[in-house]
């Protein structure tokens, strides 16, 4: 069936992509830990804090959080209330899962497109961080990538449930 072939291709692509971004998020998390610890040490022992550590942490947070949300969705890591759905028949569960997957997909299409507009806005207005003068727009771009991957992850979830519904 062409739909399941397409789905397998899509699911594999999203998996590869999100696993990669998740790895990047991990590396940045470790860097963020070192940055914070070294900053405190330098400030209190040598009275020489790392300049711009606050804004660097903010930029790192975009990657730590934004690059992890897609993989988390694929692992079904985003918590849900399952008490009610667990007591329903498998078919109704699949239909509901179709609905929630679709709604989540639509929401993140909107968030992704708005974030894209935000990149353009930040680029045109030339906004930079206040100490190190690093432009903001590339980091909004990274968030866009994270949101787009999450969007695709929800699309996979939607198709998965749709196939389940059609099969029953």
């Amino acid at each position: 069936m062409w739909l399941s072939k397409l789905l397998t291709y899509l699911a594999n692509s999203v998996k590869t992509l999100s696993r990669f971004t998740n790895g990047v998020a991990g590396v940045v998390l470790v860097a963020m830990m070192f940055l914070t610890a070294v900053d405190v040490l330098l400030r209190y022992v040598f009275s020489k804090p790392i300049s711009g550590s606050l804004e660097l942490t903010e930029y790192m947070m975009v990657i730590v959080t934004g690059f992890g949300i897609g993989w988390c969705a694929l692992q079904k890591g985003h918590v849900r209330v399952e008490v009610v759905t667990a007591s329903l028949s498998p078919r109704i569960q699949s239909i509901l899962s179709c609905f929630t997957g679709f709604m989540a997909f639509v929401l993140f299409i909107l968030i992704s497109s708005q974030t894209f507009e935000y990149i353009v806005f930040k680029y045109n207005s030339n906004v930079t961080s206040s100490v190190l003068l690093i432009p903001v727009f590339p980091f909004v771009g990274l968030l866009f990538i994270g949101c787009a991957i999450l969007c695709l992850a929800f699309l996979v979830e939607f198709f998965d449930s749709l196939i389940e519904v059609l099969r029953k």
Partner: protein
């Protein structure tokens, strides 16, 4: 339609979304967006979707969340729990029910370096269960003490629950951490007291463990210095104003990393696992935080929280009765939601009500997290119970819930005490 009506319909829709199995963060974002679009127009709602995700994800104060989770993950994967349990066992094991008491004591100590209840319960279960099995402890007592003891993870600082409460209410996270200290210790004392009482009534529940002399007891303490050091680094740093909670979390994570490395327990796989677990948990929380932010805009323009605060505050009923009702409501909600989700979802609505009645915001944070803890061991969801069940595969879920009952009673008395004597929570923060 008045904004208030739209607000209440919005809350109804939110619960419909939640019960349909939609990810909690998505349900909150979607309701917030739709509600805001109805009240302020589609263009303004799109404006929120444009700016709020970036400002939420690139937020310095929120970096405290992954750093504290990372600190706990390093401690978890470095096997610190084994040392903690062995030490507690040397001190308490020879008493009646001593192995279960040691479980509670070790859980409380582990909670001092971890902000997660599930991690605390899971790590202790792997160490303590085989030991209690060896001494033929009653399975209900063994699993009950593990599930209940584990809940202390989100009360004893550092606590992810308190961090989230602090972020959403703008109450000082440092003060919240200090406020959680005495109630957390008291909770451990209550649990130990419960075990003592149970084993006094029925000694076969928890036979005495091996006897140890004073020298063994004292030498066993050498394995626990790192927990004490981490705790002092984190809480001391915040208390003496040396570091902000975010910095303390960074230092704590770094400290845990060094200790784990020094003990040669942090192999590459364990290191990788710690990082990946942290990223996943952070992603899970941040999506709900995003939901709470967007939903917050909608609730603010609908005026639901302020109207509720004024209406409930004006009721001719004693404020403690309203507080009791809120606690019951929180408990019911906690039975179907996990702690971060519950705090993020309900605080924006309930917080103004509570503050308007004249209750202290820091103290209420402790009560709220306390209710989340109880919800962790209450059916039908009771996350900690299922964590223990996953490790104690031969013990029926029913037996675990049965084992939890005495601890639930202790919880009720403990919460009543915290409500009756707010100073138990507010004494330490008053020095900051």
């Amino acid at each position: 339609m008045t904004p208030l009506t739209v607000g209440f319909i919005g809350i109804g829709v939110l619960f419909l979304f939640l019960f349909s199995g939609m990810p909690i963060g998505v349900a909150m974002c979607l309701t917030g967006f739709l509600g805001f679009a109805v009240l302020r127009g589609l263009e303004s709602a799109f404006g929120i979707l444009m700016t709020v995700p970036y400002t939420t994800f690139a937020n310095y104060s929120f970096s405290v969340i992954p750093l504290f989770i990372l600190m706990g993950a390093f401690c978890y994967n470095a096997g610190i729990s084994t040392d903690l349990y062995n030490t507690a066992n040397k001190w308490l094991g020879q008493l009646r029910g001593g192995l279960a008491m040691a479980t509670v004591g070790a859980s409380a100590s582990f909670a001092a370096v971890s902000g997660s209840s599930v991690a605390t319960a899971a790590t202790m279960a792997t160490v303590a269960l085989p030991e209690m099995k060896k001494y033929q402890y009653d399975p209900a007592l063994a699993t009950g003490s593990l599930a209940a003891g584990g809940t202390m993870g989100i009360l004893i600082p550092p606590s992810v629950g308190l961090v989230i409460y602090g972020i959403i209410t703008e109450v000082s996270i440092g003060k919240l951490f200090l406020a959680g200290f005495i109630p957390g210790i008291l909770e451990a004392v209550f649990y130990i007291g419960t075990i003592a009482l149970m084993c006094r009534i029925k000694p076969s529940f928890g036979p005495r463990g091996a006897k140890t002399n004073l020298v063994t007891k004292i030498t066993s303490l050498k394995n626990t210095w790192m927990v004490l050091l981490l705790f002092v680094l984190v809480l001391g740093g915040i208390y003496f104003g040396i570091s902000t909670p975010t910095e303390a979390a960074g230092v704590g994570a770094f400290g845990a990393f060094c200790i784990a490395l020094g003990r040669r327990k942090l192999k590459w796989q364990a290191f990788k696992r710690s990082i990946l677990e942290t990223i996943q948990n952070t992603a899970m929380v941040i999506l709900i935080v995003l939901g709470a932010m967007i939903l917050g805009y909608f609730l603010a323009v609908s005026r639901v929280p302020t109207t509720l605060a004024n209406t409930i505050g004006g009721l001719p009923v004693d404020r403690y009765i309203i507080l009791a009702a809120i606690c019951v409501f929180l408990l019911a909600l906690g039975c179907v939601l996990d702690a971060p989700a519950m705090i993020l979802l309900i605080t924006p609505i309930i917080f103004p009500v509570v503050v308007n009645m004249g209750f202290d915001p820091i103290w209420f944070g402790i009560i709220m997290v306390r209710m989340c803890e109880i919800a962790l061991i209450t059916p039908p969801v009771g996350l900690n119970v299922f964590v223990i069940k996953g490790i104690a595969k031969d013990v029926p879920t029913y037996t675990i819930f049965k084992g939890i009952l005495p601890f639930l009673l202790a919880d009720v008395v403990h919460v009543a005490l915290l409500i009756a004597f707010p100073q138990l929570s507010l004494y330490l923060p008053s020095f900051m």
